[in-house]
């Protein structure tokens, strides 16, 4: 009897919390295995809308795998087995009958290293717009310019839009990749240590961009840089060996860590 009341109470509290921060992404019982390794262990997580959620943790803890599961890029890795549910705006991307390619367009990806498509700067940004079925050239031109301006790249590349994207510096390439992702009008930006390959100046630019972008987008950022997490996060999720250990606001987690793993990480990480 008593436990029943407790259950109802916790359910009520949980639903209250979800209501407080409307979730755009809900992860339920996500498990990922690679061969005999259990990479993600029963992940349950709600990602609040229009906030920056930082996935924090030591390397090899499953942050990147979690991020890639969110838009089902795990398809590309034949050794991975994925089970569970990930809801984005009502669709379970892992088990849906709908076109996964369309659901993926709700999320823009920024990876550790920039991977520009082997085409021109212009076509890199236009590619996703094309895939959305837009044929009108003026509209594509307009969007390409707009997105390149949003990432502050337009003035640097406007005279060489039809040159190969490989001619850009790494920092510029990373901003191009961001512009390319934004061009498909995603709701969520998935960023996997987006500054780890960049020099300090380029990193700063990307971070500032994120600060701008969080007004309009939900951002899920994987990082192991504690200061970056502190600067950008609204929510921090601390992971360790494939499990979520703690989550909360940066103040809660960094000032008052509950688990020994996080305490150790904060000491070692700084």
């Amino acid at each position: 009897m008593n436990t029943q009341i407790m259950d109802i109470q916790t359910q009520y509290l949980q639903s209250l919390q979800i209501k407080k921060q409307p979730a755009i992404l809900q992860i339920k019982n996500l498990n990922v295995y690679a061969e005999k390794q259990h990479i993600l262990k029963n992940i349950n997580l709600n990602i609040p809308k229009n906030k920056v959620t930082v996935l924090l943790g030591p390397s090899g803890c499953g942050k990147t795998t979690l991020l890639k599961s969110l838009n089902k890029l795990t398809d590309l890795y034949r050794e991975l087995r994925v089970s569970g549910q990930i809801f984005i705006e009502g669709d379970d991307i892992l088990n849906t009958q709908k076109n996964v390619a369309l659901i993926r367009q709700k999320m823009g990806l920024l990876s550790q290293k920039p991977f520009p498509l082997p085409v021109s700067i212009y076509k890199n940004v236009a590619y996703g717009i094309h895939l959305k079925g837009v044929k009108n050239k003026d509209l594509i031109d307009y969007n390409v310019e707009k997105k390149l301006r949003e990432v502050g790249l337009w003035d640097e590349v406007k005279d060489r839009l039809h040159k190969s994207a490989d001619s850009l510096s790494i920092g510029q390439q990373q901003r191009l990749c961001l512009a390319r992702g934004l061009a498909v009008k995603p709701r969520i930006i998935l960023a996997d240590e987006p500054t780890s390959a960049l020099d300090p100046v380029s990193s700063k630019i990307i971070e500032n961009l994120f600060r701008e972008l969080k007004k309009h987008y939900t951002i899920i950022l994987v990082t192991h840089i504690l200061r970056q997490a502190q600067r950008l996060a609204d929510n921090v999720v601390f992971m360790h060996y494939g499990e979520i250990i703690e989550q909360g606001t940066p103040e809660q987690l960094f000032k008052n860590p509950q688990s020994p793993q996080l305490r150790e990480y904060l000491v070692e990480g700084n």
């Binding site: 890639k68 838009n71 890029l73 398809d75 590309l76 890795y77 034949r78 050794e79 390619a101 369309l102 993926r104 367009q105 999320m107 823009g108 990806l109 990876s111 550790q112 290293k113 991977f115 498509l117 082997p118 085409v119 590619y127 996703g128 895939l131 959305k132 190969s164 990749c177 390319r180 992702g181 498909v184 998935l190």
Partner: protein, 295 residues
């Protein structure tokens, strides 16, 4: 001690450069030797008539190589048409879509195909492909043939080229970074669109060079082709007719080349043509790759 180490270093450097020089000059030396041996035939007949004439009667001192060159090109092109699309699609499937178990199974299969001696391919050609062409394919097209034909040569050659082309294609598709595929997928591309727009484009130089390697291998392959191609000096656009490619000419007549005047020189010239053509194929494809990589 220090002195001894410096000497060792110097000596090792020298022999490494020397071995490299051997590798470097080997094709050049071969080319020069073949050219020197073919000089007598150049004196007897002009180069255009050697290459363009189809009058082949060594006993009368007439050496027209065109039927052999034609056969060689025909067999090579046929084998390329059969093997290139097959390898391309197989490589795409194996690298992008196949299960890991299938990939693990296919690798040794490809290596075995590459390791089979060409005489076995020739035997297989005689036992399977020649009857297939003669008894099954030819009636469909309303042609009468023994089966020993350019077509049979093309098919056998295609099978022989598959492991080489396929291995190189697999390598170049596997070299495409996963991050690039992730980028395309996350932009909303389907798996096939990712293959078409990103993977094929990114590995274009690799595709071209594997095709080049396949062509060069097909052009020079001797024994298996010789066993199924019929070896008749004639020019015909009909693939059911027999042909006589250059390598077969050299291999078949090498034993008796001393019996007829100028014959040895003519065969050396045939070898020189082979060498030059294979060199040219390689250079053209290299230039193409260089151009596409720069663009």
């Amino acid at each position: 001690m220090h002195f001894k180490r410096r000497i060792t270093d110097r000596v090792n450097n020298i022999w490494m450069v020397a071995t490299l020089a051997i590798v470097l000059f080997l094709p050049l030396i071969m080319g020069i030797a073949l050219y020197a041996k073919s000089i007598p035939i150049f004196d007897a007949q002009s180069l255009p008539s050697l290459l363009g004439s189809s009058n082949w009667s060594p006993n009368d001192g007439k050496f027209g190589f065109w039927p052999f060159i034609f056969s060689s090109i025909y067999v090579t092109v046929l084998s390329f048409i059969f093997s290139a699309p097959l390898c391309l699609f197989a490589a795409i499937y194996l690298t992008q879509f196949a299960t890991r178990r299938l990939v693990h199974f296919m690798h040794p299969v490809i290596d075995i195909l590459a390791g089979i001696p060409s005489v076995i391919y020739g035997m297989w050609g005689i036992l399977v492909i020649v009857p297939f062409v003669g008894d099954v394919l030819a009636p469909v097209f309303g042609v009468k043939t023994s089966g020993y034909s350019i077509l049979a040569g093309g098919i056998v050659l295609a099978v022989m080229c598959i492991p080489y082309m396929l291995n190189m294609l697999l390598e170049s598709f596997n070299a495409v970074p996963t991050g690039l595929k992730e980028a395309a997928l996350s932009l909303g591309a389907t798996r096939w669109e990712t293959v078409k727009h990103v993977i094929l484009r990114k590995s274009f130089p690799g595709i071209i060079s594997s095709f080049g390697l396949g062509l060069a291998k097909a052009f020079g392959e001797t024994l298996a082709v010789m066993m199924v191609v019929g070896n008749m000096v004639q020019i015909s656009g009909n693939p059911f007719k027999a042909g006589y490619p250059l390598p077969a000419l050299i291999a078949n007549n090498y034993g008796e080349m001393m019996s007829i005047p100028l014959y040895d020189s003519a065969l050396m010239f045939a070898a020189l043509i082979l060498l030059v053509v294979i060199l040219a194929i390689n250079l053209i494809f290299r230039y193409f790759i260089y151009k596409t990589q720069k663009a």
